[in-house]
């Protein structure tokens, strides 16, 4: 431990990845990737979902081994067989899905793998020293954590701090942050960015993986863009967008140009839509109270209303009750109290099947868990909701002919890229899997459409398609409820935005409201100006 400390600050770490290639079967996830990370810099790794960023970083962290290429640390080629080797070489990583044991305390999580022990071979934990180490690191870098709190009791922001402290107690010189801002409020994001900056100033290098252009521009010293497993070669691009060494892009590159680099074509970042024409009240939620799986109140007295022909967006950091709210609406979770009405008819005790069939479409937030049955074919997934209804079948038997015909039709209509409707969904890309869900849910006659994180983990092309489908559904007179933790998505799609914080709707605001103010609301800060605001009728004028 002690020798690591001395190594820590004195020799800054310079990392080179040379020709890293990783294949999964026929798929080339990383194709000869070269990246150099200088000491003390914040290096952004920018790319679409599925571009291969995480695969690359997992190789750097020893979780995967490259098929070709080498990792060079301070001029010395290294082979990382496990994270143990990577940590020993001074590399730490904060994963997108936190690597924390929920039933352990903060101190136990941080100690794990680098425990302070006494009693020699008996290996008795020295909890006092472990705790002290945590507090020391926490203080040194200004990252407050409570060593005795249980992880499962902490909000995500705090869990992320624990992850960072965990890496820092191991005296890493290069810290990989994988999509760290996905779960944070805009304010928390700013805080994190400043932590990254101050870490970089102490000589540590940061690799910042993201697909959010704004953040890249705000913090990065240099940018490497990865597209379909390859680095986008800077040599093909005008010098204006390059950094001094001409190996990466400069943060001065305009946003739309970065987006084009990431996707490979010009993309519009805006959702195009006409003003909404709200009609009757379709969904009416009053006084809704819902508990989460642990019996803790997740939705705490929500009143909402969604009208035909409008998109109501719910903004908020993940884990503020959005999941439970949506699950209660579609009957997947029992409400403790409150009422849910669809066109004036109570949904209480109806059961998911009945609710869906009475005209509710539902795109669940966790596609691979709730949205599709990956082992099933595309055709089977497309009738997951209606398999026992004509023409697809009846209460006893299926009608494979009708199922296959309808599948072929919808594959074309919804632009699902698959070799055949009989292929299993697991062979499809994330975006196309999501299109299967969208196609299924939009094939029923709908009165209400609920889309929860509709474009999470989806490529830009599919995002555009799914967004246009949602707007199309709205224009057909369906009431649409969009839940997303990506504020940009909510702002782009919604006609009205409800901000959810700790199970309550803090305010309903117009999408024209400045981002910073919505951000404050997402953090639970209700200024006078934020709380007052508008009625939907006013905005649609």
């Amino acid at each position: 431990m002690t020798n690591q400390v001395s190594r820590g600050q004195e020799i800054p770490l310079r990392l080179e990845l040379r020709g890293i290639t990783k294949r999964f079967g026929d798929l080339v996830a990383n194709d000869h990737i070269d990246i150099t990370v200088e000491p003390g810099e914040v290096h952004a790794l920018l790319g679409e979902n599925g571009a291969g960023k995480s695969t690359l970083m997992n190789q750097l962290y020893g979780l995967l081994q490259p098929d070709e290429g080498e990792i060079v640390v301070n001029g010395e080629a290294k082979v990382f067989r496990s994270p143990r080797d990577a940590i020993a070489a001074g590399i730490g990583m904060v994963h997108q899905h936190f690597m924390l044991v929920p039933v352990f305390t903060v101190a136990e999580n941080i100690a794990l793998g680098a425990e302070e022990i006494r009693g020699g071979p008996l290996g008795i934990l020295d909890r006092r020293r472990n705790r002290r180490d945590v507090l020391e690191t926490s203080k040194k870098y200004g990252l407050p954590v409570d060593p005795d709190a249980l992880i499962e009791d902490l909000p995500v922001g705090a869990q992320q701090r624990v992850e960072i402290v965990k890496a820092l107690t191991r005296d890493v010189d290069l810290l990989i942050l994988d999509e760290p801002t996905a779960v944070l409020t805009p304010q928390e994001t700013d805080e994190l960015l400043s932590v990254m900056r101050s870490l970089a100033e102490t000589g540590k290098s940061i690799v910042f993986i993201t697909h959010k252009l704004r953040e890249v521009k705000a913090i990065a010293d240099r940018i490497t863009v990865i597209r379909r497993g390859r680095t986008v070669a800077p040599s093909d691009h005008p010098a204006a967008t390059l950094d001094r060494n001409r190996t990466s892009f400069s943060p001065d590159t305009p946003e739309d140009e970065l987006a084009a680099l990431m996707v490979g074509r010009q993309v519009s970042l805006e959702v195009s839509k006409t003003p909404a024409e709200p009609g009757r009240e379709v969904l009416k939620i009053s006084g809704l109270v819902v508990d989460d799986d642990r019996g803790i109140r997740a939705v705490d007295g929500v009143d909402l209303s969604v009208r035909a022909g409008e998109v109501l967006g719910i903004a908020g950091v993940q884990g503020n009750g959005q999941t439970e709210l949506v699950e209660a609406i579609v009957g997947l979770r029992a409400a403790r109290s409150g009422s849910l009405e669809l066109d004036g008819e109570s949904l209480a005790g109806m059961g998911t099947k009945k609710i869906l069939r009475s005209g509710v479409g539902y795109i669940p937030e966790d596609r691979s868990l709730d949205g599709v049955v990956k082992e099933f074919s595309v055709a089977e997934n497309l009738v997951l909701d209606m398999y026992d209804r004509p023409p697809f079948g009846n209460a006893f038997k299926l009608n494979p002919k009708a199922i296959n015909e309808s599948a072929a039709e919808r594959v074309t209509q919804f632009d699902i890229r698959t070799s055949s409707p009989a292929s299993t969904v697991s062979t499809l890309s994330g975006g196309n899997q999501q299109k299967v869900v969208v196609a299924r849910e939009m094939s029923r006659p709908l009165r209400l459409m609920i889309a929860s994180q509709p474009t999470r983990g989806v490529d830009v092309g599919s995002i555009e398609f799914i967004h246009s489908q949602i707007i199309h559904e709205r224009d057909n007179g369906t009431a649409v409820l969009v839940v997303s933790s990506e504020l940009d998505e909510v702002v782009g799609l919604a006609d009205r935005i409800a901000v959810m914080y700790r199970g309550k709707i803090l305010a309903i605001v117009s999408p024209d409201m400045p981002r910073e103010e919505i951000g404050l609301l997402m953090a639970g800060i209700t200024g006078a100006e934020a709380a007052a605001e508008p009625e939907p009728e006013e905005e649609t004028e």
Partner: protein, 425 residues
């Protein structure tokens, strides 16, 4: 739209919030009350109004606790009712577990008073019998604790018992040494554990499937070798020496507990020491922290450099050694020879003890003692000619476990990654 319309709030009861009145404590309280009523109102009238003697020895002689059978039956039944009612009121939240244990104990006492009325029950014999029956269960359950806390489900305890029992008989006879027998019993358990570990950890075969198949494998191999070797030539292959009973001078003179715990075979002490050691090791050592992490969130452990599979291998194998020692009980302590399928489902009761004891060493010990007591009681009652069929008492461990996993007695939660093979991303 933001305003709350109070008008609709009244007719919300339709949304049927799950009624939390019947929470776990109340359900348990109701249960205790009901069994108390059964004891007082059904057992009571059935009991004879004769003296029930609980002798403090291994036979009818010596000092005894005596009570009128019918009086005792009703008295303890009413005590159980009272305890149940206290639980029902939900006043003594902190003492729920204690009240539950007392309630069950009162019910058992009531039952005993009914059964023993006009007869006697030797307490020391009952207790040491319970401990003896519990012995393999504790060792088997500890094997389960080691495996499952690190994420490997072990339903092959039965197979490890059988291999242990067989190994102990064979080598114990050949070497005419109890200790050689014990060691080979452990090796027998290790063989099954190693197969489990390799198949489950390396080849990612479903752990419950492997465990079940390994049980059948062990049944077949030991049965085959028994019929080929031991049956034709029992003298040469199947007459193991018996484990000696040792006495700790001084401690053995403590009334009741002394003869039960301190004048017994070594295996009992080994088991008790293991319970303590594993408990403290899980809680307070680096190995324990890593084991628990690997059982709860292996990827998290892997990302900080803990060798997930290595640790699982070690734990499953050590578990095999312990379960094998548990198997030795059957041939070196209980009976003097190996017999086909002689463990007769004890491995599954050990599994039940593991679950009933919530994957903790002390929980497993408690559950094993409870199950051991039930078995001893079943034996005692069938000898004493009780009208209660011993088959039903022997069902007790199984039914108790079903009740436990069905969550009727609190939440039973396995380690989060239990049973899930670890595959790197």
């Amino acid at each position: 739209m933001t305003q709350v319309s109070t008008a609709t709030v009244e007719n919300l009861t339709g949304l049927a919030a799950p009624d939390r009145f019947w929470n776990r404590d109340r359900r348990l309280g109701a249960g205790v009350t009901v069994i108390g009523l059964v004891a007082a109102l059904i057992f009571g009238p059935l009991a004879e109004s004769k003296t029930a003697r609980f002798t403090l020895s291994t036979d009818a002689s010596g000092a005894a606790l005596s009570i009128n059978g019918q009086f005792g039956t009703i008295l303890f039944g009413l005590i159980a009712v009272a305890l149940g009612v206290v639980m029902l009121t939900g006043k003594a939240k902190r003492w729920q577990t204690l009240l539950l244990c007392l309630g069950i104990a009162a019910f058992v006492l009531s039952f005993l008073c009914w059964q023993v009325a006009g007869k006697f029950m030797p307490l020391i014999d009952t207790l040491s019998g319970s401990v003896e029956y519990a012995l393999p269960l504790v060792l088997g359950a500890l094997a389960g604790v080691l495996g499952e806390r690190s994420g490997v489900v072990n339903v092959a305890i039965e197979g490890q018992f059988l291999m242990g029992a067989f190994g102990a008989a064979l080598v114990g006879t050949l070497a005419t040494s109890v200790w050689a027998g014990l060691i080979s019993a452990m090796i027998g358990g290790l063989i099954i554990a190693a197969m489990l570990a390799v198949l489950a950890i390396k080849f990612l075969v479903d752990q419950v499937v492997v465990g079940t198949v390994l049980n059948l494998f062990a049944l077949g191999v030991t049965g085959f070798l028994y019929e080929r070797l031991m049956q034709p030539n029992a003298l040469k292959y199947n007459q193991p020496p018996q484990m000696p009973r040792w006495e700790i001078p001084g401690l053995a003179d403590i009334p009741v507990i002394g003869p039960v715990l301190f004048h017994t075979n070594v295996l009992v002490w080994i088991a008790l020491i293991l319970v303590f050691v594993i408990h403290f090791a899980l809680k307070g050592t680096r190995w324990g922290l890593r084991t628990r992490a690997v059982g709860e969130h292996p990827t998290a452990a892997d990302t900080v450099g803990v060798r997930v599979r290595g640790l699982r291998y070690v734990n499953v194998m050590v578990g095999g050694l312990i379960a094998g020692a548990g198997g030795a009980y059957f041939t070196l302590v209980s009976t003097g020879a190996f017999n086909k399928n002689m463990t007769a489902g004890a491995g599954f009761i050990a599994l039940a003890a593991l679950i009933f004891g919530r994957w903790t060493p002390f929980g497993a010990l408690g559950a094993a003692l409870f199950f051991g007591f039930a078995q001893k009681l079943a034996y005692f009652l069938s000898v004493a000619g009780s009208p209660v069929p011993n088959q039903f008492l022997n069902m007790l461990p199984y039914i108790a476990t079903i009740v436990a996993v069905a969550g009727l007695v609190g939440r039973v939660r396995a380690p989060a990654a239990d049973g899930i093979p670890y595959v790197k991303s």
